[in-house]
């Protein structure tokens, strides 16, 4: 570089070199040449400074433009989400007062109603539904041993009258006009059913001494007439 070049400004070649140096696109020899030019030529230093200021200005402008674009997109996205929420959940409102216990309880009315219904159904199933196999007054209970004769004429529960489980007489019900007595068959067959009626003489004596409420049974004769 001559004194004349220095006095007339930087050449196009030197500006290109400095631009490459500023961008970091120089090789080893070009970087050495640019550094030598910068150190020896103040115009080169000014040119380099102008490049730096222009770069910072551009970066600042780019950053500003980048922030604005992101903000608008975010605003748009938020508006869209709010609109969707308002559609499904209702308008957003601001509760000034904290919710009381009763109001919270009422708000959970559906939950409590469902739980109570399920609990009631479980209680009914456990306590009131009769289990399978339970005997009733009309059901047969084969093999159930008979322990006592029915007194008073009415045996509501079905009973198996036998000492031998192989052959048994099962009774669904038994009603008689008098007390019942059962005589077990020693061979294991069905028992003999005896309806016990009071004899007339004994009934007459006892009737005089009887307390109120005792009713005498009709007296049966072989001719079929009751006396």
């Amino acid at each position: 570089m001559t004194k004349q070049d220095w006095q007339e400004g930087l050449t196009e070649r030197e500006e290109l070199l400095l631009s490459q140096y500023f961008d970091g696109e120089c090789g080893f020899m070009a970087r050495r040449s640019a550094e030598k030019l910068i150190s020896s030529n103040p115009l080169a230093r000014d040119f380099l400074a102008s490049l730096e200021s222009a770069g910072s200005t551009c970066r600042a402008a780019a950053q500003e433009s980048a922030v604005s674009a992101d903000l608008w997109s975010r605003i748009d996205a938020r508006i869209e989400s709010e609109e969707r929420a308002a559609f499904y959940l209702g308008e957003r409102r601001r509760d000034a007062e904290p919710q009381s216990f009763l109001s919270r309880l009422r708000s959970r009315q559906a939950l409590w109603g469902g739980l109570s219904g399920a609990l009631a159904a479980a209680v009914v199933l456990v306590f009131f539904v009769a289990p399978v196999g339970k005997s009733s007054s009309g059901a047969l209970l084969p093999g159930q041993p008979f322990h006592q004769a029915a007194v008073g004429g009415l045996a509501a529960e079905p009973a198996s009258l036998t000492s031998n489980p192989r052959s048994a007489m099962e009774v669904d019900w038994m009603r008689a006009n008098g007390s019942l007595k059962l005589f077990q068959d020693p061979s294991g067959k069905s028992a003999t059913i005896w309806v016990r009626r009071r004899p007339a003489a004994a009934r007459a004596v006892k009737a005089a001494q009887a307390t109120p409420g005792i009713s005498a049974t009709p007296h049966l004769y072989l001719d079929g007439r009751a006396r």
């Binding site: 099962e170 669904d172 019900w173 008689a176 069905s190 059913i193 009626r197 009071r198 004899p199």
Partner: protein
Amino acid sequence: MASSFLRLLALPISIIAFCAVVPCVGLCQDSAFVSVSVRTIQASEPIEGEPSGDSPVQAPKIPAELSDVSAKLLQLPFHSFQLLSSKNETYEIKKRERMQLPNGQTLTFRPMYMDNKRVGLWLNWRDGDGTEILNTRVHFDADDSVVTGTDCAGNKGLILAIKAVAVPTPAGEAGGK
């Protein structure tokens, strides 16, 4: 709509088919008719108290026609038994029947079922004046007899021995008495 109509018809059709098939199959070999015999027995000479050492113990007198129920009669507190009458007729299952007894009493009964092993019988024993003596529903072995009795005047007893025997129904014949 057609499918729902078919579903409505499915249940009655299945019931009808079941009722038609089961009797033919005869799974339980139930008899449609049953022969019921009712013997009226008079018991006398009641046994009172424990037998003393002076008088010998007398064995109960049971006639031959009551030999099949002798074991049951021996349990009763009587020395003597006499067959008053015997009736044997064929009845249809599940039909209520009424039998007049010689002493004016009536025995209403209904055979509920009868198979090779068990028989179910409903009995209603009434006096001549209609007073109910015994009303019961029992189930017993097909080769067994139900014996029931009651007190009578003169320290006697009246006993009914009821037995039910299955009547085989030949194929192709209509049922009936």
